[in-house]
């Protein structure tokens, strides 16, 4: 295994992935996402740095989307400080495992840090160091809102096409799950994904994305397993 010390990455597991584990859709032997990401990064030869006091860190988005501007800013500032420290003032890239958190930090942070969204990190840093051994037949992928906003739809498609022969890109606005909104106003999720089932090919039983809560919304409306694209990458490069 490559333990080149210069190949370092700061991994910031989002609070959602830190607290939400697997659900009934996932296989019993699936790792939880944070662990899986750890393994994947190690496999690609990275040394992982975790930010200090990680359990206290959150990008602030859940507060912001609820209208708690002040709580958002203090959370975001604290995270920025922790990430600056962990990355030795921006020397190492910072991997986010949720696109919305990445997007939120991108908006909030000053520019000293090299924070990287899940798609770009996998495409540019991880895939070149791994070999795809068992490409999947067919998968569905969904570009969550923040992926659309940073214009990474094509990269998401390209990344998934490295891992599967047939990729169905789900055509929908937002999934309507919207953080916790899917729990509180489930009809928004139902409305947002009313055309979902028709889009998923019969043979496709797996869907991938880059936001945990959206994935829950997708599972709910499609009846198939939706999880982080990191799982897909981990599996085909295993």
């Amino acid at each position: 295994m490559n333990t080149n010390s210069e190949l370092k990455v700061v991994y910031f597991p989002s609070c959602i992935n830190r607290s939400m584990g697997k659900n009934s859709f996932q296989a019993a032997d699936d790792l939880q996402l944070t662990e899986l990401t750890h393994q994947l990064l190690v496999r690609a030869g990275f040394t992982i740095i975790y930010p200090e006091e990680m359990d206290a860190q959150c990008c602030g988005m859940p507060f912001s989307s609820k209208g708690f501007a002040k709580a958002n800013h203090s959370q975001s500032n604290a995270l920025e400080t922790a990430l600056l420290k962990a990355s030795e003032n921006g020397k190492y890239p910072v991997l986010y495992d949720m696109s919305p958190c990445f997007y939120h930090s991108k908006e909030e942070f000053s520019e000293n840090l090299k924070i990287v969204d899940p798609i770009e990190f996998m495409m540019d840093y991880v895939m070149p160091r791994l070999t795809v051994k068992n490409k999947k037949d067919t998968v569905a992928v969904f570009p969550v809102c923040s992926v659309k906003k940073i214009g990474k739809m094509d990269q998401l498609l390209a990344l998934s096409q490295l891992c599967a022969h047939q990729v169905t890109m789900i055509d929908s606005n937002c999934c309507g799950f919207a953080g916790d909104r899917g729990f509180l106003v489930p009809e928004l999720n139902e409305h947002g994904l009313k055309d979902l089932k028709a889009q998923i090919p019969e043979s496709c039983t797996e869907g991938y994305s880059t936001s945990r809560t959206c994935e829950i919304g997708f599972e709910r409306m499609s009846g198939i397993d939706f999880k982080s694209i990191f799982y897909l990458i981990e599996e085909v490069t295993r």
């Binding site: 830190r18 209208g67 002040k70």
Partner: protein, 700 residues
């Protein structure tokens, strides 16, 4: 409270249509009633119709009760044709079916399909639909056909009128005519003999009046959407063909359109464009005349003020800032399926206009960056004016056309007119090849002096366009309420009488979108002006264009971004004026769920908004304002003790508790009352996808 006849309509229709889709509360009627024009009427009832059977029932029941109906697609109309104070029938949700026919040579589309979506069905075959309004990412087939909308490339050759193959309509008596179905046509000819005869008689009247015949032919050589498409009566012999083509541009005043079949057109693979700067408008217009016979796909004119509005863009050439005041640009587009022919076309264009000097040399470009800048310069004009305007004013987009030989003179005359009435922010641009000019300016309608100024501008404009240049007062945006008072001026009595007869043939009781297109009120264009009160800095620049709607997840469930802004504006207006506390209370009653709770705040709307409004951001500030102090403190507490919270959760509590502990407003209130974490009972619906708590991450 609904008036008795409307209540009756609602009751009767509730037997056929899900009552949840028959809306009469003040919030929803206002939200759905708003279109992109600067007019406002609030419907009594809004019906979200999902299929033709429902529309037939609505038409029949409304007829019985003598109630007027207005149909609606995406509501991006600019001339006041998609609004009503009676019943608005929204045919968008549902209406999404399409069918490729005759080996992709035709496509049948339902009215609720967004124009660009129709093009994505055709793109894999290298094809598209003909009409190409700038609003194609939001406007829907029903509105595109009913307005005969067009844009920079389709000209008068590929608009709906020219590319329509068939249409299916529901008439005012509930009868369906499907021109693609021989049986339907035969049955219709049999059941509606009088109607057919009337059409034939109109056709013959025109045929026998040589000067009228040629007048009509001539007027449609340039783009024209003033009044009905009476060229149908000179271009076609067969009454069914005439009806089909009359529906194009009828602005929902003759019948309901259930589907339309277009002949598809080729979408060329390779594109290049060039921004040609001329020394004067005259030179640019003379070049345009020469380009008419060159292999161009589009020729767009941008006046000096238009160029000024993009000169600070990083991609803009430096000399933009120092162009002489007299300068004028043409954006010339070239398209073909092979690169070789594309280059030949570019050369042909160069040769064609070599006699006219340009201010600088020019090259055609396919380089994405430069190509994009050129088009951004052109397409960004409306947003630029829209974004710069003073709050409380409306952006007005006028839409006239002139015979090409007079274009230069007309441009200058228009500019003098703006000066005369002190519209200093006006910019002039448009589809030069078609003689079609738009001018955009901001207008305040909140004082009588301003309304008077607008009135003077409009009457003088009518004289300029019609009497001086024999042009069209509306080239592509439809007559609506805006130009209805001027239709007779433009067309003269004989042609106007024909238009009035057309209306009577299809709608004898004047109950289908009344007051639009044909309106006896000479001041109709000055009535029912939309208020544009200030509400919140994030949304004050909203033009209510509706471009955001197709990108919104809650559109159709509750509100779209545009509708959220409309509601916020009305709340601000009512709070400010204290004009109607009951109405304010009624709107406020539903606003939390409609505006706030069902907004995903994902901000995708901002991607489509010409003035970059992120309505999600606005909703977040709305939320913040609505939160009371105590729950704010709870959020801050949870934020500061996050580690402890997550630890507790991971060990004992379910993830959902965590979620609600940091996210759920209602739950926070519970917390602040000293009660420990929430119960499942607070979650409206439990779902099996809910994950379990995660294991703590081992960081070593």
């Amino acid at each position: 409270m609904l008036a008795p006849s409307y209540q009756k309509l609602k009751d009767n229709l509730s037997k056929f249509i899900d009552p949840k889709r028959i809306l009469d509360n003040p919030l929803q009627t206002l939200a759905y009633g708003t279109d992109a024009s600067f007019y406002r009427l609030i419907p009594e009832i809004v019906i979200l119709a999902h299929n033709e059977a429902e529309v037939i029932e609505i038409i029949k029941q409304a007829k019985k009760l003598n109630i007027a109906l207005t149909f609606r697609a995406a509501g991006t109309s600019l001339s006041g044709q998609a609004i009503t104070d009676s019943v608005l029938v929204v045919a968008t949700h549902g209406w999404k079916n399409f069918e490729l026919l005759d080996n992709n040579q035709k496509i049948k589309l339902e009215p609720g399909i967004v124009g660009s979506r129709a093009n994505t069905f055709l793109a894999p075959h290298g094809l598209k639909i003909g009409p190409d309004p700038a609003s194609i990412n939001a406007a829907m087939i029903g509105g595109i056909v009913a307005n005969n909308a067009s844009g920079m490339c389709c000209g008068t050759a590929q608009n709906s009128y020219q590319t329509i193959a068939d249409i299916r309509i529901v008439l005012n008596d509930g009868t369906v005519l499907d021109t693609s179905d021989a049986e339907s046509v035969a049955a219709f000819k049999n059941s509606h003999k009088a109607l057919i005869q009337e059409i034939e008689s109109l056709r013959n009247t025109i045929k026998n009046d040589e000067s009228l015949y040629h007048f009509i032919k001539n007027k449609f050589k340039i783009k024209n959407t003033t009044g009905y498409s009476i060229n149908a009566l000179v271009d076609y012999e067969d009454p069914i063909e005439i009806i089909k083509h009359l529906m194009v541009g009828s602005e929902g005043t003759l019948a309901f359109i259930s589907n339309v079949t277009f002949k598809t057109v080729i979408d060329e693979k390779f594109k290049s464009c060039s921004l040609l700067i001329f020394n004067t408008i005259q030179d640019a217009c003379n070049a345009t005349i020469l380009l008419k016979s060159a292999p161009v796909a589009a020729v767009e004119l941008l006046d000096r003020d238009s160029i000024r509005s993009v000169e600070n863009d990083p991609a803009a050439p430096d000399y933009f800032k120092t162009l002489p005041e007299s300068a004028c640009a043409l954006l010339v587009e070239c398209r073909d399926n092979t690169v070789e022919v594309l280059q030949q076309k570019q050369e042909a264009i160069r040769l064609q206009i070599q006699s006219i000097p340009t201010y600088t040399d020019y090259e055609f470009t396919s380089d994405p960056k430069q190509y994009y800048f050129n088009w951004k310069a052109r397409k960004g004009l409306l947003p630029t004016v829209g974004g710069l305007r003073k709050n409380g004013t409306t952006v007005i987009i006028e839409d006239v056309a002139f015979p090409l030989p007079q274009l230069a003179e007309a441009c200058l005359a228009l500019k003098d007119l703006f000066k005369k009435y002190e519209y200093h922010d006006a910019v002039l641009f448009g589809h030069a090849l078609e003689g079609n000019l738009h001018f955009v300016f901001s207008q305040d309608f909140s004082t009588q002096t301003e309304v008077d100024r607008y009135e003077k501008l409009m009457s003088e404009l009518a004289i300029l366009v019609v009497d001086r240049f024999n042009g069209s007062l509306k080239a592509e945006h439809g007559t609506g309420r805006n130009m209805a008072p001027f239709v007779e001026k433009e067309w003269g009595t004989a042609a106007y009488e024909i238009m009035k007869r057309i209306k009577t043939i299809f709608d004898p009781n004047n109950k289908i979108n009344p007051d639009v297109l044909i309106n006896p009120d000479p001041k109709a264009h000055l009535k029912n002006l939309k208020p544009m009160p200030e509400s919140h800095a994030i949304v004050d620049k909203c033009m209510e264009c509706g471009f955001c709607e197709p990108y919104c997840v809650s559109e159709g469930l509750t509100l779209s971004p545009r509708q959220r802004i409309v509601i916020a504006r009305e709340i601000s207006r009512l709070e400010e004026s204290n004009e109607n506390p009951t109405r304010l209370a009624a709107i406020r009653k539903d606003v939390t769920y409609q505006l706030d709770e069902t907004c995903a705040t994902d901000g995708l709307c901002a991607l489509a908004c010409p003035v970059n409004i992120d309505t999600g951001k606005f909703v977040k500030t709305w939320r913040a304002n609505e939160l009371n102090g105590s729950s704010k403190k709870v959020a801050e507490y949870i934020g500061s003790s996050m580690a402890g919270t997550t630890a507790v959760l991971r060990v004992g509590l379910k993830a959902v508790s965590f979620f609600h502990s940091i996210l759920g407003t209602r739950i926070m209130t519970t917390l602040s009352n000293g009660i420990h974490f929430i119960s499942f009972g607070k979650v409206p619906k439990w779902i099996p996808e809910m994950p379990k708590g995660a294991d703590k991450i081992k960081t070593l």
